[in-house]
Symmetry: C2
Subunit: 195 residues, 2 copies
DNA sequence: CCAATTAATGAGTATGCACTCACCGAGCAA
DNA sequence: TTGCTCGGTGAGTGCATACTCATTAATTGG
């Protein structure tokens, strides 16, 4: 890679980093492209050499975040046998990525149709992971009592609702929760399709 | 009231009715004042004879809705002794007013500070009613298992979270839920102050 | 070393929006 | 009837913002 290409890549990364931070702080709708450019230390016009429009910057950022996120989860699922530990660590990972995702989820209903559709399609990726975690839980027939981080209530509204449909019982002094059998089918149906 | 005054009042009501409907359909942020005027069948400029700006139209509409809502709840609390019935009917009333409130709640994080502050201040009205319902529940020491309508998850995010911290037990064949005692104080603290 | 390439610049354009104001005409008081 | 009042009108203004493009300057290949 020659000097020009390296410089171009560097600029692109500055834009993405700046965009992510400002989007988390102020939301996407309330962030002007000129502000992103300023924060990245480049001219306003430069931003549009790297991204054809604001929406594509959002989508690209989302894809990058999802890719990191997805790799972490995949590894976790392969490595962790115990569902209690798996679910707990799974939620830790979600929480770590919380900022940008929840900023997206918060504003999602206000986006134009086109952008909203793109984001919702990608949300199904997250559902798929969650489904794998549930699969393991069903095999082992037990779930630990875990709070879905409240910031994810919106993104995972449906999941959260179904998580509340648990039966609970006490085992060795601590409360253990188990999904009602009738719920499991519905939950899987809900998590998988969409696209 | 002479013909002129009557006409003015009529126009004002047309604006409010049109605004409410469009806000519910498309959200407040994505509705232009010119669209409200068009839906109300008046000139764009006329809207600003009745309301100094868009925000004040939103706030006025919110106050009107809250006032209706609040009167209904007050009456319900006075008339209904049984908490199970009270809570259930309380949620029915909320659900009936759901459209405009949830459109507000959905967009709230994206509003400018000034408008957001005004709306949050008014949300405390709703909290106060909810607190009275909880008070009655604490006296009677029992809550029916009730789903907070999912559309209200956002507006009542905190409340919803605390509602999940219940102990449950089976009585006469049906599940009865009771708040954990340690939660009740926290919940009361959370619901009352804010302003 | 020179000409071609290309990343970067930032003033400029197009658009959409909240809000204004000079003007109009129906209703009212005399 | 007459002149005034005032609600209504809609083209116009100012502003914010996404996006463009003629120009500049650094880098490259020959």
């Amino acid at each position: 890679m020659n000097k020009r290409q390296a410089q171009k890549q560097f600029t692109r990364e500055k834009i993405i980093a700046a965009a992510k931070q400002i989007f988390i702080e102020k939301g996407i709708i309330n962030t002007a492209t000129s502000q992103i450019a300023e924060a990245a230390g480049i001219a306003h016009g430069t931003l549009f050499l790297h991204f054809p429009n604001k929406d594509s910057l959002v989508v690209e950022l989302l894809d990058a975040e999802l890719s990191k996120f997805s790799n972490n989860i995949k590894q976790l699922i392969v490595e962790t046998a115990d569902v209690n530990i798996l679910l707990s660590q799974y939620l830790d990972i979600i929480q770590a990525e919380e900022g940008f995702f929840s900023s997206l989820a918060r504003e999602l209903p206000n986006y134009k149709d086109e952008l909203r559709r793109k984001i919702l399609f990608r949300e199904s990726l997250i559902r798929e992971h969650f489904h794998q975690v549930i699969e393991k839980g069903i095999e082992q027939n037990i779930y630990a009592q875990v709070d879905i981080p409240s910031a994810l209530t919106f993104l995972f509204g449906t999941i959260n609702y179904y998580l509340s449909l648990k039966t609970s019982f006490v085992q060795q002094g601590s409360v253990i929760e188990k999904f009602k059998p009738s719920i499991i089918k519905t939950m899987k149906d809900l998590l998988l399709p969409v696209q």
